[in-house]
């Protein structure tokens, strides 16, 4: 799984390379005059996503100790928080006031956050499977790869968001 995560990290790397060229090599001001980024909403979203990483870890720790209810609660919370994150991002996309085809800054903004959003969507799908299976009693203290693997993917999504948030919104 970690090898797959490595290739996913490299995919983000190619998008970050494009960002590097637009911002550092071209010396584009960030954000350019007249364009603003919703830092605070995105900051709250970051907090939500980071918390969701803790809840999915709690879910995994619970099932390792045989605590089914804890696992189910953790997975449900993670899914809901992830969904909140995604919906908030989509609302912000509509409200941000610029489009991908405006200039290189908007291009990179939408493409980098959009790539991340696509991965959140995939992560939510995998989490949905895990949650459904959790409520059907598929997991036990001995067999819980189906919780561990989505958890690893979700952690990757979370860490990637922190990097995206920091480079696009903050720096």
């Amino acid at each position: 799984m970690l090898l797959f995560i490595a290739s996913e990290v490299m995919l983000f790397g190619s998008f970050f390379t494009a960002y590097f060229f637009v911002r550092v090599v071209n010396g584009y001001s960030w954000p350019p005059p007249g364009f603003e980024l919703p830092k605070y909403v995105a900051g709250i979203n970051t907090a939500i996503l980071v918390t969701s990483s803790f809840t999915v870890h709690w879910a995994l720790q619970s099932i390792r100790r045989g605590n089914r209810r804890g696992m189910q609660a953790g997975l449900v919370l993670t899914f809901l928080m992830g969904l909140t994150f995604l919906l908030t991002q989509m609302i912000e996309y509509a409200r941000v006031g610029f489009a991908p085809h405006d200039n290189a800054f908007t291009t990179i903004f939408f493409c980098l956050t959009g790539l991340h959003g696509a991965h959140v969507f995939v992560g939510l799908t995998i989490l949905a499977f895990a949650t459904t299976r959790a409520f059907r009693g598929h997991f036990s203290a001995e067999h819980h790869y189906g919780v561990e693997i989505p958890g690893i993917y979700w952690h990757f999504v979370d860490v990637m968001w922190i990097v995206v948030y920091a480079t696009v919104y903050l720096l």
Partner: protein
């Protein structure tokens, strides 16, 4: 006519009865793909039209978007769903009970098994090899068309744009649909056997990875019918040419994605298999070098391939979403494309040669009857090439206008990478030294490889020096270099591998005389075709041109004639392979008297490879050492260990 016996494993279960009546249209297979593919395409079309209508974007029928979403993404997905590549995972997602694994669908009992989703790595390996040779023929015919156009100055039968399409597709097909997947196919067949494993770690993923490949190839071949013609920006597809070319470029963008996805999945499969499924006693330092080579190559694929995916996404976004990745008027950066593209495409050339190095190590050791000289350093040099390979990409960009401070460091790393490669060449020569050399066809290809690859490597060392590259960039010197390392390099190793493992895969021996004719005709024609290109390159003939100055006319004519001979030489190969596959003499288990594990089972191997798990007790190259054993199989026990003296 004697029959090849297929030894069966202990799981020989009954085949499930083939579906009858209308169930034939719902069971995974070509019939279901026949309706699922257009269905998905229709859904894709609907999605595009819906969103364009919702957003009030005009025109509603924007064909670039529709082609990408409906025909280049949704339709292939429908095809894959139809033939059953996703069946297991869909059943999992729907919560359906898992089908009991009686393994009755595993392995091949008739030719039809090769045309469906099959999880047996041996079947998948042969599927890969058959598919890539189809695209090899197409790519080769395109090369013949290129050489036909270049036989005389002036435009013969195509215009400049058409010519650009010819060499673009020639290179794209050869790189993504021939060399890379050919190595994947050989490795798919051989690596699990060499490891003593019953199959790959993820057989269903393996099957899916294969089926992505014909999709990529059909997209590329189909691009001839795109309005405006096939992609014509070179296989390198630089922005901003590619962002302003006709629709054919989108076919290139998407085909690369499908081929790249196939490649990454296969590589992940190899890595997990090699790390976790080695037979007991097989430490990393007792693995055959082919396994080492595929291990290193798979690491390269997993890490580097996403970058070409990214670069092609950016070109597509610039074309369809009108973004500005590469548009300097809105803050984009054109050189960014080259950096992102070459960050993959340089490791790609190592992906295209490292498995070949592994094949050569196997062949030379067996046919010189000597252990590989310096086994550990051979493995370590593979790892060195892996690491260094990521640091040299900008040597493709010395004249691009990139930041000039990058040039000297990239030159240094480029020259450095010749060191581990040179270590390998010298070790092969040392293996041959005072060996008992048997000059059968695989060995001829291996020896031919060493000579031509060294020439290609030497021209590469020249090109690594910035001042020389400034003069020779985009000339025929580069074309010579490319073909010496890719044809004289990778292709020769693929030939060595195919001839070497043909008896194992088919149970029959190819015709040795025809094999020798094939080699010599190819070797001579290849050198006559490509060596003069060094000369005209230094004299200034540019590459990727449909017409050229009259002073190059004589050499071009000579090169074209020799290239036709080169093209004709493949006919011998295909005749030999096809005829021997059906009528060749039975080969037996180990015609080459090799020590590696795949030769210790029948030809072809049993469905699950080994009747009992082999116990590895030594390294695989101890030729000529009395009593040496690589592995204990089939009941061989302690008295052999006593022979070895432990």
């Amino acid at each position: 006519m004697t029959e090849v016996t297929h030894a069966t494993g202990h799981h020989e279960a009954e085949h499930a009865a083939p579906p009858q009546g209308w169930h034939r249209w719902t069971a995974g297979g070509w019939l279901r793909a026949l309706w699922m593919a257009p269905l998905f395409a229709g859904i894709g079309l609907g999605i595009v039209l819906f969103f364009r209508w919702l957003g009030h974007w005009h025109p509603l029928f924007e064909w670039n978007t529709i082609v990408v979403v409906a025909f280049l993404t949704a339709l292939p997905l429908g095809f894959l769903a139809g033939i059953g590549a996703f069946d297991y995972w869909v059943r999992y997602a729907l919560g359906a009970p898992t089908q009991p694994e009686d393994h009755s669908g595993h392995g091949a009992r008739s030719w039809k098994d090769y045309f469906r989703v099959n999880t047996d790595h041996k079947v998948i390996g042969i599927q890969y090899l058959s598919t890539v040779f189809v695209f090899f023929i197409v790519g080769g015919l395109l090369a013949m068309l290129v050489r036909g156009e270049l036989a005389r100055p002036g435009l013969q039968y195509t215009d400049a744009q058409g010519f650009n399409g010819l060499f673009t597709l020639h290179a794209t097909l050869m790189i993504f649909l021939f060399i890379i997947p050919a190595f994947a196919g050989i490795a798919n067949y051989v690596v699990p056997l060499m490891l003593g494993a019953p199959d790959m770690a993820f057989p269903r993923l393996n099957a899916l990875s294969f089926w992505l490949l014909p999709i990529a190839g059909l997209i590329l071949v189909g691009s001839f019918f795109a309005p405006g013609g096939p992609p014509a920006a070179g296989w390198t597809g630089y922005a901003s040419l590619s962002t302003h070319q006709p629709m054919g470029t989108l076919f290139f963008n998407m085909a690369v994605q499908w081929a790249g996805a196939s490649s990454i999945m296969t590589a992940l499969n190899f890595l997990v298999t090699i790390i976790t499924m080695r037979a007991p006693g097989m430490t990393f330092w007792r693995m055959p070098l082919l396994v080492w080579a595929n291990f290193t190559t798979s690491l390269l694929v997993v890490i580097a391939t996403p970058f070409i995916a990214g670069s092609q996404f950016f070109v597509m976004f610039d074309r369809i979403l009108h973004t500005h990745f590469f548009d300097p008027h809105h803050g984009g950066n054109v050189i960014a494309y080259q950096h992102i593209f070459w960050f993959y495409s340089h490791p790609a050339v190592y992906i295209m040669i490292l498995p070949g190095f592994g094949i050569i190590s196997e062949v030379i050791s067996v046919f010189a009857r000597k252990p590989i000289f310096g086994y550990r350093l051979m493995a370590l040099s593979l790892l060195a090439i892996l690491v260094l390979g990521f640091s040299v990409w900008a040597h493709h960009m010395f004249v691009s206008g990139m930041a000039s401070y990058l040039r000297v460091p990239m030159m240094i790393t480029t020259l450095l990478i010749a060191v581990p490669t040179g270590v390998k060449v010298f070790n092969w020569l040392a293996t041959l030294w005072e060996g008992r050399i048997h000059l059968q066809t695989p060995m001829l290809w291996a020896l031919g490889f060493i000579s031509t690859f060294v020439i290609g490597g030497l021209s590469g060392v020249y090109l690594g020096a910035v001042p020389i590259d400034i003069h020779m960039s985009d000339t025929y010197f580069i074309v010579a270099h490319i073909h010496y390392v890719l044809f004289g390099g990778a292709f020769f190793t693929i030939m060595a591998g195919i001839y070497f493992w043909f008896p194992k895969m088919t149970g029959r021996m190819y015709n040795e005389t025809l094999g020798k004719w094939h080699f010599w005709l190819t070797f001579v024609a290849f050198n006559l075709t490509f060596f003069p290109m060094h000369l005209i390159g230094t004299q200034g003939m540019p590459r990727r041109v449909a017409d050229y100055a009259p002073k190059f006319a004589d050499w071009n004519f000579f090169i074209s004639v020799c290239s036709f001979a080169l093209g004709a030489s493949v006919i011998i190969f295909f005749y030999n392979i096809i005829h021997s596959w059906r009528y060749g003499p039975l080969a037996g288990d180990n015609p080459w008297r090799s020590l590696t594990l795949e030769w210790q089972v029948t030809s072809p191997p049993p469905v699950f490879n080994f009747d009992e798990i082999p116990q590895v007790v030594g390294n695989p190259y101890e030729y000529g050492v009395p009593g040496a054993r690589h592995a204990l199989l089939n009941g061989a026990r302690t008295h052999e260990l006593e022979e070895v003296g432990h």
